[in-house]
Amino acid sequence: MSATAIPASYTGRKLGSLRSERRWALWVAYASLIIACIIFLAPPFYMLVTSLKSSAEISNLSGNPWLVKAPTLENYIELINNPLFRGFFWNSIIITVCVVIISMVVSVLAAFALARMKFWGSQMLATGVFLTYLVPDTLLFIPLYQIVGGLGLLNSIWGLVLIYPTLTVPFCTWIMIGYFASIPKELDEAALIDGANWMQMLTKIFIPVALPGIIAATIFAFTVSWAAFVYPTAFVTTPDQMPLTIGVVSQLIRGDTFAWGQIMAGALMAALPPVVVYAFLMDYYIAGLTAGATKG
């Protein structure tokens, strides 16, 4: 309504500067994104290129290492037919499935109790859970070595299944507490009046409503246990008990002979499951990490 009072030239300049400011912001944003992409995608691209080369081509230093002249799947085929590599893969799967199940059961129950059953010290306990997450595994593996050794689980995937949850449970619990806390109190009260007990309230109301959070926590537990490196390095010594992460680097290097093609192919195949999981559940993961904090 006051537009007529403003000289046309003034509004024009104003709009123009806004538009150019926005264009600038876009330029900067795109430039940063492209740089970030190059930095993050260069290693996997190099891995892919190398994995498609024969050993002869890799050791031939004359060509450009970023290009592949005669692509071949021989590295992949060899690995897939290698019982050792299949064993690593299988170990990783067993460990990860067990760890994800244990982590989710423990952290969902813990989060439900901490978020909803106001008992003495529940607040402190919730903070304590998060603090344990801040202790790095490089520090923890020394005392844990004693414990795992005492249980007779050294050099066993079951030892790993037992200790990985120390990495996953605190953070998963933390995500779930935030998520559960954002569920309005009247919802449990309505369920309580409708005749639900605590367990039904958890399974029929909380878990379905907090599903995005649960998926986010599951992905986190999956990633952590699939990619764990320090603990298996410390606790596992024989190839039959090794997960992919250490199997690939420790068994595909014989003395000082590096089977680069196979190492790269193995690493890429090892990275595949997380990539697939993220590709399908990315939206849930992001929603789960942010929604708990903001949804009223």
Binding site: L187, L192, I193, G195
Partner: protein, 367 residues
């Protein structure tokens, strides 16, 4: 269906806050009782104690003939409607309504029958497959009521169910709630801070203040015979005017001396009632609707007239509100819109003295 009795109910929160200070209340079968009062007066706390969502510090609650103090909510045979509806977001409307019955192991056909019946009463049959996200505020409110109706409980509990709706929808849903109660006749306890909602819905209104019950009675009784200054001021909109006054005279004839030299004769029918207070300072209470233009009341007895100059004139359409100040007290009068008044203009005002109230400023009790 059931009666509800509250006996000396006290609620003390941690930290020693007494939210409810020992209230007694008897609610009859089929009755629609509304707890009303300003925010923080303990209405919700009372309702939640009846529901079993809040522990009772002391006293007894009796629903349908048995003491339920230690009975969990699910076994109290009550259903509750919350202000924010509290619908289960991941379930369809049908499942929201069926959930309570499913947990109670009703068989499928009975559940279907009840849900469809409730849907018919509430006119939400076409929404049964939707999720709450896809419903408007009014529709969510209906579903929340449906969830209560299907259970066919002994008592319905409502906690400010209309507060999240816009004004127009609120009026519409108010009528709806009344209609539903007339159909299902379930004993209902309804909490609101809105006295109009209370007056329009209730068989009996319970006015609460500071954790105590000020007065219990049918709407008309509260309107015409408030027992305390609080009830007099809380019930009615715009609220009652209070002016400091002195009661003068003897047993034969009493006169009220107001500020600005205004003298109002007390009707003969009230002299006996007020005579003991002659010579004392009192508060004179009169509702805006009983302080009107002179034309309307000319033919009536016991009408006193004085002049005042309104400072603010608010035409409302069906009435015009005039505001003036008498020794710092804002006074509101309700005029026929046909009477044209401009601010600052002195106009005669007729006081319907049969509708007056006198309040003892010491005790705040209506005399």
């Amino acid at each position: 269906m059931a009666q509800v009795h509250l006996r000396k109910i006290v609620k003390e929160y941690e930290g020693g806050v007494q939210a409810v200070k020992g209230i007694d209340l008897d609610i009859a079968d089929h009755e629609f009782v509304v707890l009303v009062g300003p925010s923080g007066c303990g209405k919700s706390t009372t309702l939640r104690m009846i529901a079993g969502l809040e522990e009772i510090s002391s006293g007894e609650i009796d629903i349908g003939g048995s003491i339920v103090n230690d009975v969990p909510p699910r076994d109290r045979d009550i259903a509750m409607v919350f202000q924010n509806y509290a619908l289960y977001p991941h379930m369809t409307v049908y499942d929201n309504m069926a959930f309570g019955l499913m947990l109670r192991k009703f068989d499928k056909t009975e559940i279907k029958r009840r849900v469809e019946n409730a849907a018919k009463i509430l006119d939400i049959g076409m929404l049964l497959d939707r999720k709450p996200k896809a419903l408007s505020g009014g529709q969510r409110q209906r579903v929340a009521m449906g969830r209560a109706i299907v259970r066919d409980p002994a008592v319905f509990l409502f906690d400010e169910p209309l507060s999240n709706l816009d004004a127009k929808l609120r009026v519409q849903m108010r009528t709806e709630i009344k209609k539903v109660h007339q159909t299902v006749k379930t004993t209902t306890i309804y909490v609101t801070h809105d006295q109009i909602e209370a007056m329009t819905l209730a068989d009996r209104v319970v006015v609460m203040n500071h954790g105590n019950i000020e007065q219990v009675g049918p709407p008309q009784e509260l309107y015409h015979h408030p027992r305390t200054r609080f009830v007099a001021g809380f019930i009615g909109s715009p609220s009652m005017n209070f002016m400091p006054a002195k009661l003068e005279g003897n047993g034969a004839a009493l006169t009220l001396h107001l500020p600005d030299g205004i003298r109002l004769p007390i009707p003969a029918a009230r002299t006996a009632r007020y005579a003991p207070h002659a010579g004392k300072d009192v508060l004179f209470g009169i509702r805006p609707e009983h302080l009107t233009e002179t034309r309307q009341t000319e033919h009536r007895a016991n009408v006193a007239v004085f002049e005042a100059a309104p400072e603010v004139v608010e035409p409302m359409g069906m009435e015009t509100l005039l505001h003036f100040w008498m020794q710092g007290h804002e006074i509101c009068a309700r005029f026929d819109p046909a009477v044209e008044v401009s601010p600052g203009q002195r106009v005669p005002m007729a006081v319907d003295m049969d509708q007056m109230h006198l309040i003892d400023p010491q005790t705040d009790l209506v005399l």
